[in-house]
């Protein structure tokens, strides 16, 4: 049976045709919208960057899902499961349901909160890396990690809780990683590695991993740094950038940090690590007759609570004509087997032309110490590399064991008796008065180093006795809880170089200064930090060998030749056609 002409016409151009066309277009739009949403949700993108800046590595996923192999603690995912179970049990016990006062979130997640609307993030080239990584994490762990985008200027109330407890303002390019009541605010800059103030690489994986590790811990780790002794931890250059990377390393390790004036403030209970960075004046003791608890007393009490202390000094610390010694601080360090000088001598400046950077004998490339304390601290630095990274001590002072400590020589150890030396022979300091305290070398100079004071060479290193550049004292506190042994050791570290923490070493992946500090913070603070995640260097797209003349020549040739060929072909064809 033939279709009636009128029906055929309606179908072809009438109202029916319009309706069908509209339906088809609507279906195409809906399909596109759905596909776009699915692409965004399941991350069906392909990362084409040379160093996969938009991709999270398997190591990072493993760290979040299974935790750090070196750390016995729970992974962030495991901690979230624990929090959920605890909250559920609490709610059931108290008969609380959702919406009731006191109800605890049974679906607690890590939230990555951006302070701008989502559509503005991929417009910004640098923010886009952070945004894409956050979405990758969300897509990988959708039940444990959520992303949120709120304009902090239009919705200030959302950010009130962060502002009330944070003295800094929250910039719109900041990222807040939050879990329950714990949060970390990261500036955009902290996601990148800078060299000479230029973005050198992208460090988002480590930034996210450390923040997620930090907020899923059951307690907030805090590091305090002393002030009012001329310390220069927050010293800035002429552009306003920090000269030293101590605070950045603490942030990378997932720590909160705060300054503390020990003369007027007590050290907070949750503080795990105290740092004194290049103090130019001494600390008070109870002998000063002030009557109040002295600064040294507070540090002593802090250490007795099994917390750790880092001291950074250099020969320049004592360059002031007024303070040739920091008597009280040095006495405290001596209790822990550490000294910045030999008794009665000046502080020695170590130089080593044979083992230094670019012939600058003051920027020493140090040797790793191989003793039972240091091997676990530094082995993660070599896990993914063919050789240990250079650790640089610039303008370093020689560090000594205090005279009250006896030197003990430890023979080489073959743990599994297979004929291979597992731990080479080493020496350490041992305090007869504090039986649980020992002091170890962390880094030493080479055997060609020399020590200088007042522009005179005072001593030379030997292969058996190199100069110490950093030493760590440990008080081993083994406890017994039910059927498990716990290691609650605490540490005092003395670094003979303030420039060790200079940002030129800390922000560079060439040097191991930052990795060592992350490992040290992990050991000293008993905090898990992602030491094994490397930053991703930005590709160098610069054509270094091209000259202006070359560029001009190529431009002329590539522009003119195809045009001339096309025009000639056109003229030929058209003229030939006209002449037929």
């Amino acid at each position: 049976m033939k279709l009636k002409a009128s029906t055929g016409r309606k179908l072809k151009y009438g109202g029916t045709s319009v309706a069908i066309t509209a339906l088809i277009i609507a279906a195409v739009i809906i399909f596109n919208v759905v596909f776009s949403l699915l692409t965004q949700r399941f991350r069906w993108y392909i990362d084409l960057t040379p160093d996969l800046h938009f991709t999270i590595s398997d190591e990072c996923y493993e760290l979040i899902e299974e935790g750090d192999a070196e750390d016995d603690g729970d992974s962030p995912i495991e901690m979230l499961d624990k929090f959920r179970a605890e909250n559920k049990a609490y709610n059931e016990e108290n008969g609380l349901s959702e919406g009731d006062e006191g109800y605890r979130d049974e679906d607690v997640k890590v939230t990555i909160l951006f302070c701008q609307d989502e559509d503005k993030l991929d417009d910004n080239e640098t923010m886009n890396y952070v945004y894409q990584n956050a979405e990758e994490l969300r897509a990988k762990f959708p039940e444990y990690i959520a992303t949120e985008y709120t304009d902090s200027i239009k919705n200030p109330s959302r950010f009130q809780k962060y502002l009330s407890s944070n003295t800094e303002t929250i910039a719109q390019d900041s990222v807040i990683i939050e879990c329950g009541t714990e949060y970390r605010i990261r500036t955009l800059r902290s996601f990148f590695v800078f060299v000479n103030d230029e973005a050198y690489g992208y460090n988002g994986e480590k930034a996210f991993a450390s923040s997620i590790l930090a907020v899923t811990r059951s307690e907030a780790p805090l590091a305090c740094y002393t002030i009012n002794h001329g310390e220069r931890i927050t010293a800035v250059d002429s552009d306003g950038n920090y000269i030293y990377g101590m605070l950045q390393v603490l942030e990378d390790a997932g720590y909160k940090h705060m300054p503390i004036d020990l003369s007027t403030q007590d050290i907070p209970e949750e503080c795990r690590i105290l740092i004194t960075f290049d103090p130019r004046s001494d600390f008070t003791t109870s002998n000063d007759g002030t009557g109040a608890e002295s600064e040294i007393d507070k540090i002593d009490a802090f250490l007795e609570d099994r917390n750790s202390f880092m001291v950074f000094m250099s020969p320049d610390t004592f360059s002031s004509s007024e303070f040739k010694e920091l008597e009280n601080l040095e006495e405290l360090l001596a209790d822990w087997g550490l000294a910045i000088r030999q008794q009665g001598e000046d502080v020695y400046r170590v130089r080593d032309a044979a083992s230094s950077l670019l012939g600058d004998s003051s920027a020493i490339v140090a040797n790793y110490a191989t003793n039972e304390l240091m091997i676990p601290w530094t082995e993660s630095m070599t896990a993914n590399r063919s050789s240990a990274p250079m650790v640089v001590f610039e303008d370093a002072a020689a560090v000594y064991y205090s005279p009250s400590y006896n030197i003990v020589s430890q023979a080489a150890v073959d743990e599994d008796e297979d004929g291979t030396i597992d731990i080479p022979a080493y020496t350490y300091g041992y305090n007869p008065g504090f039986q649980n305290r020992r002091v170890f070398d962390a880094f030493t100079s080479s055997s060609s180093a020399t020590a200088w004071a007042n522009d005179r060479e005072m001593a030379s290193a030997t292969s058996n006795q190199p100069f110490r550049l950093m030493a760590v004292s440990v008080a081993e506190n083994y406890g017994q809880e039910l059927y498990t042994t716990t290691d609650d050791s605490n540490f005092v570290m003395l670094c003979g170089s303030v420039e060790f923490m200079n940002t030129k070493y800390i922000t560079s992946n060439v040097y191991g200064n930052s990795d060592f500090m992350l490992s040290a913070i992990q050991k000293m603070g008993n905090e898990p930090v992602p030491v094994g995640l490397d930053f991703k260097k930005f590709a160098n797209y610069e054509i270094e060998s091209v000259t202006n003349e070359d560029a001009t020549q190529y431009t002329i040739v590539l522009t003119l030749v195809p045009v001339i060929v096309a025009l000639c072909a056109g003229v030929f064809v058209i003229v030939r056609r006209k002449n037929r």
Binding site: S17, V28, Y45, T49, I543, S545, T559, L560, G570
Partner: protein, 247 residues
């Protein structure tokens, strides 16, 4: 359909328009490539691909303005409408002719990348330049695919506009207007407070959808979008001629 395709493709080269298009496109692409890469001493081609899209504002209307407008003006469209070929066949034949010229010109313009690879090779052999990465081949391929899909969509839009008018100039101007709008729509986002509206505008804007390619990310939903635009405007062109044939 194949006959229409051949006829249309040949017609581009029987008068000046094909040669002008090829010459202008290759000149513009060479200038842009040299300016954004060798002239700027960088292997990064992201800026080149972004700028070349804006050259379509002028070049695509050159290809599409006469596709149907000329037939109408010369009153030869009756021949097409009564020919033993479906409307779809006719539309796709003309579309493919324009697309073939566009695609072959884009592929020929890839010779502009040869100097980059030559420099990358030379620097790769020289230890003094050990740091350089050279042009990212995968990125170039995906961006080229992206601009081909964008060009394809613009050709479909231009062809639709051409089917609506018999004046080639009007067809060109309207096509330019639409292309400029589709490319620069996201500029208004700066003044829009509502996130949903900004999201929709970003979703529709061609440059916003191409941005991931520039950044080094292949976005399959963007390619689907461009292909969908092509399909929709081909459908609309067919509907216009369906109405003419049966009206």
């Amino acid at each position: 359909m194949f006959a229409i395709y051949k006829k249309e493709l040949r017609s581009y080269f029987l008068n000046a328009i094909g040669y002008v298009y090829v010459g202008v496109f290759l000149a513009i692409s060479a200038l842009l490539c040299c300016y954004t890469t060798i002239g700027s001493q960088t292997y990064d081609t992201a800026n080149y691909f972004t700028y070349i899209i804006f050259s379509f504002i002028v070049l695509i209307p050159l290809l599409t303005m006469r596709l149907f407008a000329e037939e109408k003006k010369l009153r030869t469209e009756q021949l097409l409408l009564t020919a033993p070929v479906s409307i779809w066949g006719m539309v796709i034949g003309k579309f493919l002719a324009a697309f073939t010229l566009f695609l072959s010109t884009v592929l020929v313009s890839c010779i502009n990348f040869f100097p980059l690879y030559a420099y990358a090779n030379a620097e790769g052999l020289n230890d003094a330049y050990a740091d350089a990465v050279g042009p990212v081949g995968v990125g170039i391929i995906s961006s080229t695919l992206g601009i081909i899909c964008i060009g394809m969509a613009f050709i479909a839009i231009g062809m639709f506009v051409s089917s609506l008018t018999e004046n080639q100039l009007a067809a060109a101007i309207i096509t330019v207007t639409i292309i400029v709008t589709m490319l620069l729509l996201n500029l208004v986002n700066e003044y829009i407070e509502n996130y949903v509206i900004r999201f929709i505008i970003d979703w529709v804007c061609f440059v916003s959808r191409f941005a991931p390619f520039s950044a080094g990310q292949f976005d399959p939903s963007a390619l689907l979008y461009y292909v969908s635009i092509t399909g929709v405007f081909l459908l609309l062109t067919v509907r216009v001629y369906d109405k003419r044939r049966w009206g």
